[in-house]
């Protein structure tokens, strides 16, 4: 079970809701992924355009917990404001703190992320900050009460997978709250590796939404997260420099 604040989840795969080819494909992908947590963003209502059907309307909200993000925030103040707006929906009290400090690479602003996390914890949100792969920052976020830590594997949407598995391992080793690898996952092998390293969960969006077949990829990611989790619990073999035969080395018929 994945425990985040007061919530318990069977699935360790958290899924974003952006950029799918259609709502029908998205619905099937969500189903196949087995996820119980879906992220959303907030946007101003465009008063000049008729609004499109929202994916929210299609969801059975008893089955899924919403994780609104603070995308678009460039400061702690903006992140807090977006989190309050999201909670005013009456549907959720979890929030993914996302404060971008590097527009080009969409990397999180560590100072503003820490400040927003501290304030939102005080306001009794369940706070999941999206952060870099800095182990010290991960500790600071826990000290101010983050309910989970969400280090990026690599830049958002880049599909580069885990580029610093060592620092990610440090974060996981030292964490007393769940570590959810968020952003940069490209393929099921990346998700499996995150789980093998001991991550408690994986959050991804583009890797499924932009896949050739999002529904099949959603299933692939589900299986990868489960496989990686099993491998972590089972304990993988150590890597050796030399071969070690799996078959008997004596008693062959030609001897």
């Amino acid at each position: 079970m994945l425990n985040i604040g007061p919530y318990r989840f069977q699935s360790r795969l958290l899924l974003g809701t952006g950029k799918y080819p259609s709502l029908d494909i998205q619905s099937r992908a969500v189903q196949e992924s087995g996820t119980e947590v879906l992220t959303f963003a907030l946007q101003r209502l465009d008063l000049d355009q008729p609004t499109e059907e929202s994916f929210l309307n299609r969801l059975d909200l008893k089955r899924y917990r919403l994780l609104p993000n603070t995308a678009g925030a460039r400061s702690a103040d903006e992140a807090v404001r977006l989190a309050r707006l999201a909670r005013a929906s009456g549907l959720c009290d979890m929030v993914k703190v996302e404060v971008i400090g590097d527009e080009k690479r969409l990397l999180p602003d560590p100072i503003a992320t820490l400040e927003a996390t501290r304030r939102l914890v005080e306001e009794e949100f369940i706070v999941l900050p999206y952060t870099g792969d800095d182990p010290v920052l991960a500790q600071r976020l826990q000290e101010v009460g983050a309910h989970a830590i969400m280090p990026g594997a690599s830049p958002i949407g880049s599909g580069q997978g885990i580029i610093n598995s060592l620092y990610l391992s440090f974060i996981i080793q030292d964490a007393s709250v769940p570590v959810i690898v968020d952003a940069g996952i490209g393929a099921p092998s990346d998700a499996a590796l995150a789980m093998e390293l001991g991550a408690d969960g994986v959050l991804l969006n583009s890797a499924v939404a932009h896949a050739g077949d999002p529904v099949a990829m959603a299933r692939g990611m589900r299986l990868a997260v489960e496989a990686g989790r099993l491998a972590h619990l089972a304990g993988r073999i150590a890597k050796k420099e030399t071969a070690m035969a799996s078959s008997p080395t004596e008693g062959f018929v030609n001897q």
Binding site: G16, T17, G18, K19, Y20, Q26, T39, F40, A41, L42, Q43, R44, L45, D46, L47, T51, S54, F55, L56, N57, L66, P68, N69, A71, R81, R84, L85, A86, R87, A88, S89, G90, L91, I156, G157, A183, L203, L204, N205, S206
Partner: protein
Amino acid sequence: MDIRLNGKNHALPKQVQTVGELLETLNVQAQLVMVEKNGTVLQREEHAHTLLTEGDQLEVVQFVGGG
């Protein structure tokens, strides 16, 4: 009465006096929207009785797909 709505000037019809009535004129009843008035987030149950006054700054937002 004129207000600022999502960063633009917005003239309110005479009969519109509350946030709830404003949302009705915007045809968003079927949707889930959240409202901030002059920097303060309103709970949904507050929409119906929150009065609008000249120059109010309103933000009306919705959930959209995101990661």
